[in-house]
């Protein structure tokens, strides 16, 4: 904790030289099979968070008809092994008082458990076993497919989910980011029939080279390393690199609309094509700053649309770190249909404004300060530390990336932001997707 305090005092003084934002010391170790272990001891007592970060997500779903599969596979991972059938797996987790779950996104699948430190070895063993020896019957597989369908159903009354699906489908032609992590409904309906494919998916992608273990909390680094070596060491390497289609450059602005059958406030999502996170990290960092300056809570546009004119009740979004080029998205929920065009103009002209007008350096410093303090305030327990890291780990497999990103934030100037805005906020890279209640629609 002392480190954190020192660093943040430096962050408080805007002129201070860049210092490492991630305040915890960590041990990063690569095993011969390609598995990486990151251990982060903290002084939050008794509790350990264990995150298994698999750098595989819906981006890997290259075959037609297989959208949603990475997420489906996350469910299958809970269907057990010979040694630990599901009920036994549950029993071990329960004995450690564990809270456990998993999630999937475009570029990652994360399995996580937070538990009493006494349970550490048994959980390292348990998790190593399912990643190496997963075994499930076709019956269990078909039943689990129904639970995924249930998940689609429970999400389906939220219009924002449907509009993101539409935005991506419109903005991308070839890349797998065309579909959401949930997948297309037709593919979900067909999942029960994909048992053989699921085994292929596991063999291809669930390999140590794609996996980073992040263990945070009341732990001893040496002990953790030897436990992981014992249980995860025998795992065989052999990951297959997916042939992910390259998205051709977008040449004209695209538009799409969803008619929504039940009453809702209208939504608008405006996306601009932007580079992959690691392709040009300086640009990615600049886009984060622009997002905050343009549509953040303290931005003139937010104050205008949400606080003063009260045309919007949601204005958010920005750049999201991705393995391949994705979108800078502005999410906007508007109170009246009639205001949609004005809101669209206001958002686009605000982003265009960054191309001509240099941002005020005081506002820029305020954003940098906000980002550093937001990060620091988010590290209030071991689980939060692991969760904050997971997204970066999936892309670069090291917490050091966090330090790099915050150093980049610190180094960026108003001129840098202008140049980045000129590069990416172009009409030919833009997709505008809207959704509104259509009364006569059934």
């Amino acid at each position: 904790m002392r480190t954190l305090l020192t660093l943040l005092l430096a962050a408080g003084a805007y002129a201070a030289p860049p210092s490492k934002i991630f305040p915890y010391g960590y041990d990063q170790h690569d095993f011969p099979n390609g598995l990486r272990l990151i251990t982060i001891p903290t002084d939050f007592p008794n509790i350990v968070s264990f995150y298994t970060v698999v750098s595989v997500g819906s981006r890997h779903e290259v075959e037609p008809g297989k959208s949603g599969f990475a997420h489906f596979f996350e469910h299958i991972m809970f269907r057990g092994t010979k040694r630990f059938p599901p009920q036994k797996w549950e029993a071990v987790m329960k004995a450690a008082g564990a809270a456990t779950n998993a999630y999937t996104s475009d570029d990652l699948t994360v399995y996580h458990a937070t538990f009493d430190k006494e349970g550490l070895e048994s959980i390292i063993d348990l998790e190593a076993d399912r990643f190496q020896n997963l075994e499930y019957s076709e019956n269990a597989f078909r039943t689990e497919a129904l639970a995924v369908n249930g998940e689609y159903n429970k999400n389906s009354s939220e219009p924002a989910n449907q509009l993101v699906e539409k935005l991506r489908d419109t903005a991308f032609d070839r890349h797998t980011y065309k579909h959401t992590t949930m997948g297309f409904l037709a593919d979900i309906k067909d999942m029960p029939n994909q048992y053989e494919y699921s085994k292929q998916f596991f063999n291809r992608f669930y390999r140590p080279e794609n996996v980073t273990l992040v263990i945070v909390g009341d732990v001893d680094q040496k002990q953790v390393r030897s436990m992981v070596e014992k249980y995860w060491g025998p795992w065989k390497k052999g990951a297959v690199k997916p042939q992910i289609p390259v998205e051709p450059p977008q040449t004209v602005e695209r538009k799409a609309h969803v008619d929504w059958p039940t009453p809702t406030l209208p939504w608008m999502m405006i996306g601009y094509k932007v580079p992959a996170f690691t392709e040009n990290m300086r640009d990615s960092a600049a886009l984060d700053l622009i997002a905050s300056l343009a549509i953040g809570q303290n931005s003139p546009l937010y104050k205008q649309l949400v606080i003063e004119e009260q045309k919007n009740d949601v204005l958010s979004g920005g750049y999201q770190n991705h393995a391949d080029p994705y979108l800078f998205i502005v999410y906007s929920r508007v109170k009246k249909d009639a205001d949609m065009p004005a809101v669209q103009d206001a958002i686009i002209s605000t982003l265009n404004g960054f191309k001509d007008t240099l941002v005020d350096s005081k506002r820029l410093e305020a954003v940098k300060s906000n980002l550093r303090y937001s990060f620091a305030l988010g590290l209030d327990n071991s689980e939060a530390i692991a969760a904050n890291l997971a997204g970066f780990i999936a892309l670069t497999r090291t917490p050091e990336t966090l330090n790099q990103v915050y150093d980049l934030y610190a180094s960026l100037t108003p001129e840098d932001l202008r140049d980045v805005a000129r590069k990416y906020f172009v009409a030919s890279g833009r997709t505008v997707a809207t959704l509104a209640h259509k009364k006569e629609a059934k």
């Binding site: 007592p45 549950e90 429970k154």
Partner: protein, 483 residues
Amino acid sequence: MRALVLLFSALALQAMEVVTLPGQSPIINFRFVFRCGSLNDLKGKEGTAALTAAMLARGGSQSMPYSDIIEKFFPMAASVGDQTDQEMLTISGVTHVDNLEAYYSTLRDMLLKPGWRPEDLKRLRDDQLTSLRVSLRQQNDEELGKEVLYNILLGTAHPNGTVSSLEKLTLADLQAFYKQHLTQANLTIALAGKYPEGFAERVKKDFSQLPAGKPSAVKRPAPKAIPQTRVTIVKKQTRAVAFSLGFPIPVNRSHPDFPALLVANTWFGPHRSSGGNLYQRMREIRGLNYGDYSYIEYFPRGMFQFEPDPNLARRQQIFQMWIRPVEPQTAHFTLRLALHELERLVEKGLTESDFEDTRSFLSRGVNLLLKTKANELGYRIDSQFYGIGEYPEYIKNAVAKLTVEDVNKAVKKHLRKDRLEIVAVAEDAEGLQKALLSDAPSPMTYNSPKLADILEEDKLVSTRKLGLKPAQVRIVPVDRIFQ
């Protein structure tokens, strides 16, 4: 960090209470918890408490319009939040110790000298209306079902009020509520982190400017008895059918049977956990939906979070089962299965090994609820409300003394398989109503072979009689809900 717990001190005042958790963390947490809430809303003015809290946390102070407050907090990444429930109104805040002075002086003015600006009222009223009209009625069938269930069982409005009441609320209504209920008598202040010496005393002194007031707690009459099972089908356009069902229970954290009932519920339907019996029988074996859980305490927003928020303490709780959306053609079977599982819980209870496993899980897992300082503060205040010791210790000590017989006795005493309120959210409400009234068999088919004992059980479940009469199954259009 362990030392922090020992440093804890509750400086009980005559009225206002201060709870402190001084420590080495540079993150400073504030909680201002008032023992008042939507139960104090006047008839026809439902939503007053929640809108008052919103005006304090998301509106301007006398000296600063809200946009200036955002401007000031922004470089600090500091924030203020609000949560209003039936009996507690909470304003929470967090800042880094570097910015404590600037943050606190603003927060203090927001709470002690609110701006009461009409433009803030307009914006925040819109937000609250949207939360009922759009978020609840249209976008989240599960939360809708749960809130309708509470509404029917307890006869209380949603903490955010109703559409018609919100439309009428004036600044004067909010000011009157503020004056009457946001008083020293109702307030507990809680602080955690590395704040300077004397800071807690200063905060206490500042908040002594609030009127002394009188406790706002209103009488909580016992809920009306449910003479027979009733079904309410909320009709709206939607893909699937969601269920919530339950009945009031006389047990809250202060009740001697709470730990026993907690063990039973943690075995039966722990929130968002794949280890629960209900989840195993309904989702894992049969693939009916995404999950099935049960509750003995109010847990709003469960679809977005794994742990409940603190400071939702209520004297009156319900037992509730949450059946996540199912395909319409399996809705009748699903409801029958949920009732079958409830009956098994009530009649058979837990086995010795279920009990031991669950007790061991609870004794360790309860620590996770307090993983943040904000939660630790919140739980401490809840424990004061219920008059129990520190929550994890209370639970650990209590479950250590339990036997499986104690647990099953508490189940038999407080839970039941009949006289339920059932809420369904469905598009083909008439079809569901007809099916339920007909009591016709609802045979289940699967996309894969099932074990013989499951098929046997299905036979039993699919012909289970509900014995409902037409007057017991009503249909309510969604736009009448929370109107």
